[in-house]
């Protein structure tokens, strides 16, 4: 039985180009989401006849990252976009995504949702497991390998702090992935052309039938303030003419600080 695979993609500003002032900067898929896209494409190749789709929640500017996902071979995309969604938190974002997964599943049941382990902006890692909880589906976070996939379940491997765990999840399920899982492909020219022309529907609060108590400004957490991290005070250059002299001077410093 072919699978319906769904990838959640967040459009974010590159970490190297002033993520602190994201206004007006171009968005691209958050780095780990690219691995989720690649894994969906690989699973589609493993289970012939499967379909892939991408889902994003964001402003109209998030259409661009969705197009870049389409250029890689994902067949369709939906953007959740509504001014009322602003001011939410990761759990409320997961709520809106879960409504979209239900809506998509009404047409063709989604078996597997793939997310990056965390985004490069918020870095909370909450959306994947929270999405699973809203849907009542099992989840596995920080997956590094899909060992086996069948019509009804899949077996995955993940690294915990003390070792490697292998677990089986019944469909439908949600996975969040680390970059160990694959090596993302590059888009083809043909893919880019097709992505340019693709229609990306936008769904708002009323399309999703969202409960206003659960998203946007009603979210349980809010950002009170953000402040740039002050640069670290400049350090000390360790003197010495030979490696041995430098090693001695450094070891002395570390010893003073009770680090040896």
């Amino acid at each position: 039985m072919p699978l319906n695979l769904l990838v959640c993609v967040k459009g974010t500003v590159s970490s190297t180009s002033g993520a602190l002032r994201p206004e007006g900067q171009p968005l691209s898929p958050s780095p780990l989401d690219e691995y989720a896209v690649e894994e969906a494409l690989r699973l589609k190749e493993r289970v012939p006849g499967s379909k892939t789709a991408a889902l994003s929640l964001g402003t109209p500017a998030s259409e661009e990252p969705l197009r870049s996902v389409l250029s890689l071979g994902v067949e369709s995309a939906v953007l959740l976009c509504d001014e009322a969604f602003a001011g939410g938190d990761p759990v409320s974002s997961a709520y809106l995504l879960s409504l979209a997964v239900r809506k998509l599943s009404a047409a063709a049941p989604v078996q597997l949702v793939l997310c990056g382990k965390k985004t490069n902006d918020g870095e909370s890692g909450q959306v994947g497991p929270a999405l699973a909880a809203w849907l009542g589906w099992p989840s596995a976070c920080a997956v590094r390998k899909v060992v086996e996939v069948s019509e009804t379940s899949l077996t995955v491997e993940r690294a915990l702090e003390g070792g490697v765990e292998t677990l089986a999840l019944s469909f439908p399920a949600v996975l969040t992935l680390t970059k160990e899982i694959n090596e993302p492909r590059l888009p083809s020219l043909k893919g880019k052309m097709a992505a340019r022309k693709a229609q990306i529907p936008r769904w708002g609060a009323s399309d999703l039938g969202a409960d206003a108590a659960l998203y946007g400004k009603s979210a349980a957490t809010s950002v009170v303030k953000t402040a740039p991290v002050p640069p670290r005070a400049g350090g000390v250059s360790i003197p010495g003419n030979t490696p041995e002299e430098k090693a001695r001077a450094l070891a002395e410093k570390l010893k003073e600080m009770k680090l040896l």
Binding site: S15, T16, A19, L20, P90, N120, E123, S124, G125, Q126, P129, A130, A132, A133, W137, P138, S139, A140, C141, A142, R144, E161, G162, V164, E165, T166, L167, A168, L169, S170, A173, K179, A220, T221, S222, V223, V224, K225, T226, A227, P228, V229, R232, G234, G235, V236, S237, I238, P243, E244, K246, A247, R248, L250, A251, L254, K255, M257, L259, L260
Partner: protein
């Protein structure tokens, strides 16, 4: 949930340094409001040791074993217990376990969650305020959790560890309903015991492009063993296949904050700095004195790491009289 929340509840899957950090953070929060601190553990085997870590109450979850159970099973088992306890705040470790479970609990309890908290305090109304790192470590956001219970996972190494004391927690048993999980753990293979885990490591010796190849890690491992440090790596070293991914520090790897971070041959791309810039003391060892890591380092040592790292190991041995 209840409009009359009370107390701090720490949730742990095992007794480990992260659990001691939960209790360290929890004790300060509990004392700030004069409310009780509880620790919830699934496994009864470690009850005695856990009871000595400063909690007022130790809740042992009885019933089908949750040790190593998937997160949806934990969610189902904990939901009724947390509803009955009605805590003001619930703290979970910033491990894969905590990061996986906390969002599920937040949804189940319609609660608010802050991930990877660096600091925690209550506002005058008893609502939780937490600081966390965002945007690749370039900024800190303060998050207000507007509902109870307030859930938080703690950034490893950000809070003082509770130490065993004379006071013993009152041990209470709570029965967990049989949880139906749609996931099943098939196996768990522990890492080699000799390896120090990166996330909770007090010291880290890390290598990057400047090592030149997988064999470049040998002197770093030697230094790490002398220091009792974990071994880290930059993305370049991991992508080149010189060392497994579990050692990667940075945006697409681990975020850590050890007391000592020794960066050998790592120039300090922003993605790498994102994972280690809050380390207490940073030592940079590099040929290029102007690279970002050397600018950032508490102590920068310019030179050939092939000579410097063994020289440092030799010096440490000499100082120890060995």
């Amino acid at each position: 949930m209840s409009a009359d929340p009370k107390g701090i509840l720490c949730v742990a899957d095992a007794l480990c340094p992260a659990t001691a950090e939960l209790l360290g953070a929890g004790r300060a929060l509990a004392d700030s409001r004069g409310e009780p601190l509880a620790l919830l553990l699934a496994d009864g085997a470690e009850a005695e040791a856990a009871a000595a870590l400063g909690a007022d109450r130790l809740l042992l979850l009885e019933g089908p074993s949750l040790a190593g159970a998937p997160e949806d099973a934990w969610e189902a088992a904990l939901k009724p217990v947390l509803e009955a306890e009605s805590p003001r705040a619930v703290l979970l470790p910033g491990t894969v376990f905590g990061r996986s479970l906390a969002p599920r609990l937040a949804v189940a309890l319609r609660a608010g969650l802050v991930s990877d908290a660096l600091t925690l305090r209550f506002d005058p109304e008893g609502r939780l305020l937490a600081e966390r790192s965002i945007c690749s470590g370039n900024a800190v956001a303060e998050i207000l959790v507007g509902r109870w219970p307030a859930l938080a996972t703690l950034r490893p190494m950000a809070f003082p560890r509770a130490v065993p004391g004379q006071k013993k927690a009152e041990i209470l048993r709570r029965s967990a309903p049989a949880a139906v999980s749609k996931a099943r753990v098939l196996s768990f293979v522990p890492e080699a015991a000799a390896e120090i885990e990166l996330g909770g490591a007090d010291k880290v010796v890390s290598g990057g492009r400047g090592l030149g190849g997988p064999e470049g890690f040998a002197p770093l491992r030697e230094l790490a063993a002398l220091l009792g440090a974990a071994v880290g790596a930059s993305r370049t070293a991991v992508d080149a296949g010189w060392i497994p991914y579990r050692h990667q520090v940075g945006l697409t790897g681990r975020s850590i904050r050890p007391r000592l971070y020794v960066a050998c041959g790592i120039s300090g791309q922003i993605q790498h700095l994102a994972g280690m810039r809050s380390s207490e003391v940073i030592v940079g060892i590099n040929q290029d004195p102007d690279c970002p890591m050397m600018k950032l380092a508490t102590f920068s040592v310019q030179g050939d790491l092939v000579k410097l790292v063994p020289a440092l190991s030799a010096e440490i041995r000499r100082l120890r009289g060995a």
